[in-house]
Symmetry: C2
Subunit: 450 residues, 2 copies
């Protein structure tokens, strides 16, 4: 029996979230949360009778998150990577996953479309993550455990150090990982028992009324969250009112982060945050362009609130500079923006080198499901700490996943199912395929009848 | 008679250049030079009996350059922009072109795919440039003249200053343009008489033999070029030999630039260029990642050769920082990497503010044809100077264009035909469409018979 990737399916999946203004912020007024979704089929029999068993072989699932239009472009980009997978051996080991990551990000012709940024890079990330889902299933472990079971040498071999060596060498990475080796088992046990700290953005979307904001903020605290987040950047007058209402609703002991979603130039950010500072915001997220390393450094120096960014940071080279320039207090990795687990491992190591905590971006479609594995691995085997670290949680669209995140008392429960928690339910895929799925057909009929 | 964009055609066009190793360098060993090409059709009658007249209306042509695989992804991205053009009025004025540029780069859903970088941003550039081709044809002028005929206020209105205001304000831009207003007519006349300085990369591709390098270097000098460029970064031993041969062939009075195409980390770049410095290279181009602003600054500080970059710089925000950080001696704009004429105007103004000369990247498919207009406009109406400035010239694939560049005695002749010199010949498009064009059908037949 060979163990081969036999097929590569790509789906354009969209959810009509713009109808509810869930996910609305200063830059993204009407997102339709979407995923360009890839399935790696194999001829490896699924002996677990798990969710993939119907297809005849263990599968790897991965995706990029988008907010609607252009999801078809992402799907085309994922499809361009098909030749690197189909007919090849199913990846199992760190060496296999290192080789695949390098092939996908260094194809000499595809690289021109980035390099290492935007559509083509996110597509590589979706496929790399699908390969990790597959390899972890083959190992019978959730991705966080699969990673945390590798040796420091294996982990270092997964990283592409190109363009990083002025900030982090392989030897330095190895030293960081070796220093965290003692205590891996104890931390894994504690993680399984207690879960990983989370914060929630659900109260704070810009399209919500004041009443809804206050109600949801109080609910968040009652549910055990110790940090919430508000979107800002539409109008300073409104932001002062909303932040004051939220502070009043949750009291002084709860952290309130604010998020401008790239709305400002440097001077705007400094003025706005100086005005919001009396309400004690925990961080200002994405104050300006995610490409503006020097701009973030100027914002950090120019006002009293801590600076966070990363969900739109294109790659490890930009993260490297944000750390070199002292531009951020929190690094916000995203599981599906960079080239998958391998590149996020590089970013976790860079953050550890500079002593900056990683607080991932999540939400969207399935980003919570993916990124929890990376923070949990970081806790067990890289930084060795969850102090001052939280994973974003947004309570949207989890019902479409086979292994949805489980939040208890404001913490992410450690996943125990094999894989990357990436598998979307077949009926959800069928209903939300764009433009032919039933949800979209119904919406067109409704619009035509209006 | 309305004046409307009636149709939007997208073509995936590829040239099998990998067969000759034209275009080979340390990162791009076997490129198939390609263009994702867009045609805006209109119902505006072509009264000039010009090359578009057969189609019944004046057309706008634009494209992105790629090096093969993934060109279909670029084509899909361009196609995603169709709704912004079809059925809309044909753009004519600075106000029309400013509005279109903002719509294409700020679509709240498509923006997620960058933001402002990679595939989606290059697609916006192709469409913006096609709109400029159309508007300049409607005005009956080549793009450089069309731009140089606008008032400083109109030019400032074309620029998106978001994320730039800490380095360049609209008022500062206006002051730069007003300072260059006197003398526009004299400089335009001088440009028409003398042409704009060029340099040639044709001798220096990494795949060429030493004999071919020496022969082509001597030919370049005989043809009137005063600067040539060599690709480096494969092997230091080979680079020393090739640079010594080239220096011997052209003598001390000719500038030899070298180009590493992002091959190095910071330390490698410093060591390599320290070793090549005795042969007096004019600049080191793309020593490292185009995203690495701090890395370029470190390379510039760490060795004696001047630093150039830009062909892969994703947008104006990264160019802003390269200038703020003192990381570059030369800014190398590319006509088709950023969001078209509007964003390149922002970059020309930033370079003028910081007093750094602009020496465009060209070559590929049609990049010489496009970018000559931007340097000529810069000379006439922005920097007001061509001192220490040269446009790259590569003698490939010009025969496929209706208004190819004309080089005389090492200088670009100023274009006089209306538009952006962007129109590819219909027979070239037909023969090179991928995968159905005759050139590709023949290649498949040949491979099958091998």
């Amino acid at each position: 029996m060979s163990q081969t990737v036999t097929d590569f399916e790509v789906h354009d999946i969209r959810f009509p979230t713009s109808e509810q203004l869930d996910g609305s912020d200063a830059m993204n007024p009407d997102p339709d949360y979407s995923a360009a979704y890839v399935v790696l089929r194999t001829d490896v029999p699924d002996r677990t009778d798990g969710p993939d068993s119907g297809s005849g072989g263990i599968e790897g699932h991965g995706f990029c998150f988008t907010i609607g239009r252009g999801n078809e472009v992402m799907a085309a980009a994922i499809d361009a990577l098909r030749p690197y997978l189909v007919g090849r051996p199913a990846p199992r080991t760190a060496a296999d996953l290192a080789a695949l990551h390098r092939e996908l990000t260094h194809d000499s012709q595809l690289r021109w479309l980035g390099p290492e940024k935007g559509v083509m890079h996110m597509a590589a990330g979706a496929v790399v993550n699908a390969a990790w889902d597959l390899a972890a299933k083959l190992a019978g472990r959730p991705v966080w455990e699969f990673l945390a079971g590798m040796t420091p040498e294996e982990l270092v071999s997964l990283v592409d150090f190109r363009y990083l060596s002025d900030a982090l060498t392989p030897d330095e990475a190895l030293a960081i990982l070796r220093a965290a080796e003692p205590g891996r088992a104890e931390r894994a046990a504690r993680l399984r028992a207690e879960g990983y700290p989370a914060y929630t953005t659900s109260p704070g979307w810009l399209g919500y009324s004041d009443d809804k904001l206050v109600r949801l903020a109080k609910e968040a605290v009652a549910d055990g969250f110790t940090q919430i987040k508000l979107k800002v950047g539409g109008s300073l007058h409104d932001d002062v009112r909303r932040l004051a209402l939220a502070r009043d609703a949750v009291g002084p002991g709860i952290r309130i982060a604010v998020d401008a979603n790239q709305r400002w130039d440097v001077t705007d950010a400094v003025e706005w945050m100086t005005a919001l500072a009396p309400y004690d915001p925990h961080w200002i997220e994405e104050p300006t362009s995610p490409d503006d390393i020097l701009g973030h450094a100027a914002v950090r120096a120019g006002q009293p609130v801590k600076v966070a960014t990363g969900e739109h940071v294109a790659n490890r080279v930009v993260f490297k500079q944000l750390l070199q320039a002292g531009a951020v207090d929190f690094v916000q990795i995203d599981a599906a923006r960079v080239a998958g687990v391998n590149e996020n491992l590089a970013i976790l190591l860079l953050a550890a080198k500079y002593g900056v905590p990683v607080c991932p971006h999540a939400g969207g479609v399935g980003l919570c499901e993916l990124v929890q594995h990376l923070s949990m691995f970081d806790y067990v085997a890289v930084s060795g700490s969850w102090d001052n670290r939280v994973i974003e949680y947004v309570d949207h669209l989890h019902e479409h996943f086979a292994d949805p995140t489980v939040i208890e008392a404001g913490r992410y429960t450690a996943p125990s199912s094999p894989g990357f928690s990436a598998r979307m339910l077949p009926e959800s895929i069928a209903a939300h395929r764009y433009p032919e799925g039933a949800v979209w057909q119904a919406r067109r009929t409704e619009e035509a009848n209006r």
